[in-house]
Symmetry: C2
Subunit: 223 residues, 2 copies
DNA sequence: CCAAAAGTGTTACAAGTACACCCATGA
DNA sequence: TCATGGGTGTACTTGTAACACTTTTGG
C-alpha cells in the first residue's frame, strides 16, 4: 500500500486567502492543479515528509503545520491504492515565494474564491474544503491567525484577516476591544508606514511567550 | 509500507470509563494489552477496516466512530515500518460483550484509571491519551455522550457521565438546568426503576432528529 | 474638502456561575 | 428515621451584541 502526504498551504494577503498549488506535469491529471505532497520515505515520519516536500517542490517554509485528516478512499488514486495523510499549513506573507501569476509556472498561489472542483487533481478539492473548515474553526480559539500576517500588524489588518477567513464581517469595534484585552498582543508604539490614507494604525505583535504564560493561568484565546 | 488501523473504544458504566483492550497472544509485546486493530485491506477504506476488525476481534458494534490521528513515528512497530490510522469509538453499555474480568480472556474492558503505560503494547498508551483528550473536548460541544449511555437515562446519570469523563465535578444544578434547555433531550414521563433509593428520576432520551433540526436553526449543543 | 482608514464607549440583554434547601424512598 | 438520590430557584457577575461619531491624512 502506498502512503503519501498532501499539504494545504494557506497564504493571506490584502484581504485574499490563497492556497499554494502545483500544476501537474504528468498524467494522471496532467496540467491540472494539485496540492504539493509526495511519498513518505521509510526513514521519515509524515510531518517530516511534508516539510521536505514543501521545500523541494515549492521552496516554502511554513510557520504553522498541523495534521488534518487521513484520506483512504479505495479509488482515490487511479495509479493504485494510495492513502494520503493530509496536513494544512500557514505561511507568513513575507515568506511568499515570488508569485508568477502571469506565466504558467509550476507553483502558484490561487485565491480560494477562484478554486473550482474540476480544476483539481485527485480528491484535492475535497481536502482543501476540509482544511478551510478546520481553519475557520481553529482560528477562533487558537492564535494561529498571526502566522498569516507579517510579524508587525495593525489591529485593523487583523480584523480584516479574520473577516476574510471566517467569511463574514465581524463588528470591528467589538473585535478590536477583544483583541486589546489580550496582553500577548502587544502594541509597539510604532505606526504603519504603508497605510495609504487616514490615520496610521499602531503596529502590534503577537508575543508567543506571553501567550504561553497566559494560557497556563487559564486565560484562553478567543476572537 | 504497512498501514494499520487502531481503535480506542470507550465504554462507560456506573461512573467508570473503560477502554476495550486485547491481550496479545504473540510477540512482539506478547501478553501485553493492546488496542484492537489490524491491517487495511486493498479493497476497503480505513473506517471499514475498523468496523470489521472490531467485529472480528471483539464482537463489538460501535455507536460512534471518528478518526483520531495518524501516527507515523518510524520505529513505532519493531516488525518494520508501519503507520497507523487511529480511531476512537463510543459504545452503548447495552452492547457490552460479556466482560470476563475474572479469567485471562482475550478481550477486556479496562478502567481508564487503572491503565499503565508499561502494560501497553506499541505506542498504544499515547494513542489512548490522545483519544481521551479528544473525547473530553468533544463531549462538551457535540452530543456524543449519549452514545455512552443506555437509550433512556436520567439527567443525573448524564451528569455523572460528564463529571466522570471530564474529570471533575460539574455543578449538578447548573448542568441539569442547561440540559433541560435543550429540546432534543426529551423527558419520557417514565421513571427509573433501577434506582435503589430516593426519588425515581425521570428518564430522558436524546432525539437525533430534533437535534438536527435545532442545529439547522443555529442552536448549539453545549454542556 | 472629501474620501478612506483608525480609533473609541455605552447600554441592553443574555448567559454563566455560585450557592442551599426540600422531598421521596427504601433500608 | 436516616441516608441517599432527585429535584428545584435566585441573585450576582460576566460576557456578548448592537450601535455612531470623531479624528487624521493624502489626494
Amino acid at each position: 500500500m502506498k502512503v503519501t502526504v498532501d499539504a494545504v498551504v494557506f497564504g493571506y494577503v490584502e484581504g485574499v486567502l490563497n492556497v499554494l498549488l502545483i500544476k501537474r506535469k504528468y498524467d494522471p491529471f496532467k496540467s491540472m492543479l494539485a496540492l504539493p505532497g509526495g511519498y513518505i520515505l521509510e526513514t521519515e515520519r509524515a510531518r517530516e515528509t511534508v516539510i521536505r516536500e514543501l521545500k523541494e517542490e515549492t521552496n516554502v517554509d511554513v510557520d504553522y503545520l498541523e495534521q488534518l485528516y487521513t484520506f483512504s478512499k479505495v479509488d482515490r488514486d487511479p495509479r493504485g491504492r494510495t492513502i494520503t495523510i493530509a496536513y494544512y499549513a500557514l505561511v507568513n506573507p513575507s515568506k511568499f515565494t515570488i508569485v508568477a501569476n502571469s506565466d504558467a509556472d509550476a507553483v502558484e498561489w490561487v485565491a480560494l474564491t477562484s478554486l473550482k472542483k474540476n480544476n483539481l487533481a485527485f480528491d484535492h478539492f475535497g481536502i482543501i474544503e476540509y482544511a478551510i473548515t478546520r481553519l475557520r474553526i481553529k482560528i477562533r480559539y487558537e492564535p494561529i491567525g498571526f502566522d498569516l500576517l507579517p510579524k508587525d500588524f495593525t489591529l485593523s489588518q487583523l480584523h480584516r484577516l479574520y473577516s476574510t477567513v471566517i467569511g463574514f464581517e465581524i463588528d470591528r469595534r467589538n473585535f478590536i476591544k477583544q483583541a486589546k484585552k489580550m496582553d500577548f498582543i502587544v502594541g509597539l508604539k510604532k505606526y504603519d508606514s504603508n497605510s495609504k490614507r487616514g490615520v496610521k494604525g499602531e503596529l502590534h505583535r503577537f508575543d508567543e511567550k506571553k501567550y504561553q504564560k497566559a494560557k497556563k493561568n487559564g486565560i484562553n484565546f478567543w476572537l
